[in-house]
Symmetry: C2
Subunit: 460 residues, 2 copies
Amino acid sequence: GVTFESISPADFFYRNRSIAGFDNNMRALYTAVRELVENSLDACEDGGFLPTIDVKLSEVSSNWYKLRVKDNGIGVPRDHILPAFGQILYGSKYEHKQARGRFGLGGKMAFLFGQITTSEPLHVITAPVDEDHIFEVLLRQDIEENKPELVKWERRKNRDKKHGCTLEFTLEGNWRSAKRFIIDYIEQTALITPYAHLKFTEPDGTIHDFKRSVKKLPPPPTPVNPHPKGMDIEQLSRLIEDTKTRDMVTFLRTHFHRVGPKTAKAFLKTINMPFSQDPRALKPNDLVKIARGLEVFNKWLPPDARVLSPLGIKLLELGIRSTLNPEFVHVTQRPPNSYGGHPFIVECGLAYGGGVPMKESIIIYRFANRIPLIFDEYKDVSAKIVRAIPWSRYRIRPGMPIAAFVAVVSTKIPFKTAGKEFIADLTELEYDIRMGLMECARNLKGHLRQKEKVQREQVR
Amino acid sequence: GVTFESISPADFFYRNRSIAGFDNNMRALYTAVRELVENSLDACEDGGFLPTIDVKLSEVSSNWYKLRVKDNGIGVPRDHILPAFGQILYGSKYEHKQARGRFGLGGKMAFLFGQITTSEPLHVITAPVDEDHIFEVLLRQDIEENKPELVKWERRKNRDKKHGCTLEFTLEGNWRSAKRFIIDYIEQTALITPYAHLKFTEPDGTIHDFKRSVKKLPPPPTPVNPHPKGMDIEQLSRLIEDTKTRDMVTFLRTHFHRVGPKTAKAFLKTINMPFSQDPRALKPNDLVKIARGLEVFNKWLPPDARVLSPLGIKLLELGIRSTLNPEFVHVTQRPPNSYGGHPFIVECGLAYGGGVPMKESIIIYRFANRIPLIFDEYKDVSAKIVRAIPWSRYRIRPGMPIAAFVAVVSTKIPFKTAGKEFIADLTELEYDIRMGLMECARNLKGHLRQKEKVQREQVR
Ligand SMILES: Nc1ncnc2c1ncn2[C@@H]1O[C@H](COP(=O)(O)OP(=O)(O)OP(=O)(O)O)[C@@H](O)[C@H]1O
Ligand SMILES: Nc1ncnc2c1ncn2[C@@H]1O[C@H](COP(=O)(O)OP(=O)(O)OP(=O)(O)O)[C@@H](O)[C@H]1O
Ligand SMILES: [Mg+2]
Ligand SMILES: [Mg+2]
């Protein structure tokens, strides 16, 4: 007969680690660096600190590398050190707020890959902000049970009041193949995080030092209620289960983003629901009615852009000019939009000429919640849109030196893989990316037409 | 400060369902059909029964569809009905054997999507083989706790001794957009499963009836020990934890695929380990030594092809000819290979002319463990290889009517997403796909050269 079993989520991601970005020794090394740098950037921004992040990769023996990442972030509170680093699907980024982290597994998958290839434990030194001690911990993961295994725990007084986290572990990797992608990732991260000081040391000792060029943090994102558009019945039932409200108008105003009394009442009228209806008395059929109505109702206010923290067109243009020194740049920020209850903002840019390389097709730079996406460009929704735009209509021909920039921020980036390599084909997102790039294309067309005109007059 | 939480695996895949193939209402409807058909095919083959599968999609209201799938497989044993359909990461396909299922979540994600869009429960009627009763169950999923919620349970005597499973649930879907992909999937499944009787009824009543054209099942795959190449330390420690063996030669012979006493001793010599070493006394350093040694040792026997169940070049050619009626076909089966302890076999085919459509680039048909892969072709490892092959060297030019077929079977297909849409870029796999397609290309070149010669002589 057949044998039934259940496996832990750690076991699932161990057995199927290509889903989390650990396909092979090249991708594993890249993803490990990515996941730790993103954890450090989140930890610094969470505390309002200008990030200082030191990444060091050193060769232990052929194919074995020690990765060490040190930051000045908020550190990890004592009671959460073991599960934060040893329990898959445990983390501090499950709330409805823009962050690089989201899944509760990235950093841990990196340590897990180190453990299964070298058997070495994870070494953590952390000085959590608001606590008086520094904790130095060695731990492993019990993959079958999905829990941390403590190897060593030490605590000492935090005399100089510094805060932050240093992580070190050893993993098998393919540096020769990963090198250009890792360096590309670090450079692009520095491009869109000019307020961070990022230092990366290669195994051969070469140092890439990206000093801060901006001395203050951008306004941080804030936690936010879900936007009413695209709610599903599970989300609704969870809100109803925990709600303290006792009528539907207050329910809508309390739990959804930017819903005032007038809008709430107008909505309830469209589904023939009394304003005084107690949310806890709703039947399953009512939930269906509400979910469908929320999707169809078209008088919702769009999400408030201030809950998100986009790059800003000034910063995006600065980054493009400093990286590529182009002859022409146009950047634009789309109005806030939302999908499935999650607000998002798309920013687009086109750069032409100057230092932009000439390639057969348009080079695409992609950013999602300030994470540069380096792999699988042609699989990404941005590439799908770039392929579909009728560029010749804007006098843009193959072989021209053109680079496109697409930056998305959201309370939830719809990644297609747990390795955050590329974004799913989401209809609302496709619309904004297309509109943004076409606006940039129209502006570039004007520049090209002007340039042609000048060139023709020179010929005469 | 920050708030730490953990979430259940059901909650993870609910929140991030694009990772499981439920990106939007079109993909969700497609993936739901796929997952249930594959569960039914596995259930029939597990019991050695010629599959008879009846898939019916009917429109409940605008955008709501009822999906009903009935099969004559082994059914689900009474004690496993609730977790099999209500607990994510629970299933019968975790063993080391070729199967369509693997993750323990596909069918459940389909029902979950139905539940969150319509609030309707899953309706199961199952007659498990080897039991005397038929069970009729209504259930929902408690997503936050990752456990089934029983709504109704009935049992009656199984008088006519039939066996199988019928599943029915309602989900929001986009049939208009999904239609061509779903029909494509059903047709390609019929192509590579000629021993199955597959019937699909569209919402408008149109019936696609694919009768059996082959009257017996192919030899089934068998459970197998992992192949020694590409073991990691976690796999080794699990084997050691459970082993009844007390010396390393017996350990290797008992737990690995095709390792005899001579090979085991030769291997142990290469890592200076005594034959009598007790596996339970191994230190972490020894595990590292063994893992590295297993990877480097080059005298392992390749995996025994008989544990896998490839299509076979006869069946593949039959399927290609019946679908496309080409002027020329060449198919080939690569020798067994393995990666990470998992044996795999690649079969390739090229079809030219006749009914093969003329497209700008080569059309690629992909199969993984007899699952047709319909989406995301350009993201798949096969497409990566097709783009990289220098076709002009074989007189194959763009615009020729050419279709490529790549079928992979393995104890573990390295899917890049939990939605099984495409395969990760695995080095060993890339090698075999390239060699297989180039062999077909050489044969096609011969055919094209012959054809040109004949045409030139006709001109004279
Ligand atoms: N350098 C760090 N400083 C402070 N806290 C950290 C650091 N690295 C990880 N953490 C904590 O550990 C938690 C788990 O990290 P992990 O990378 O596994 O998941 P995540 O970042 O929450 O989500 P994702 O899987 O998307 O990366 C984080 O949520 C954070 O609270
Ligand atoms: N039609 C069916 N007949 C018999 N057993 C079934 C059927 N459908 C599902 N099952 C059982 O329920 C289990 C869970 O199915 P589910 O699709 O969720 O996961 P899986 O098939 O094991 O893996 P995957 O996520 O890769 O599909 C299966 O392993 C199988 O034992
Ligand atoms: Mg993280
Ligand atoms: Mg399944």
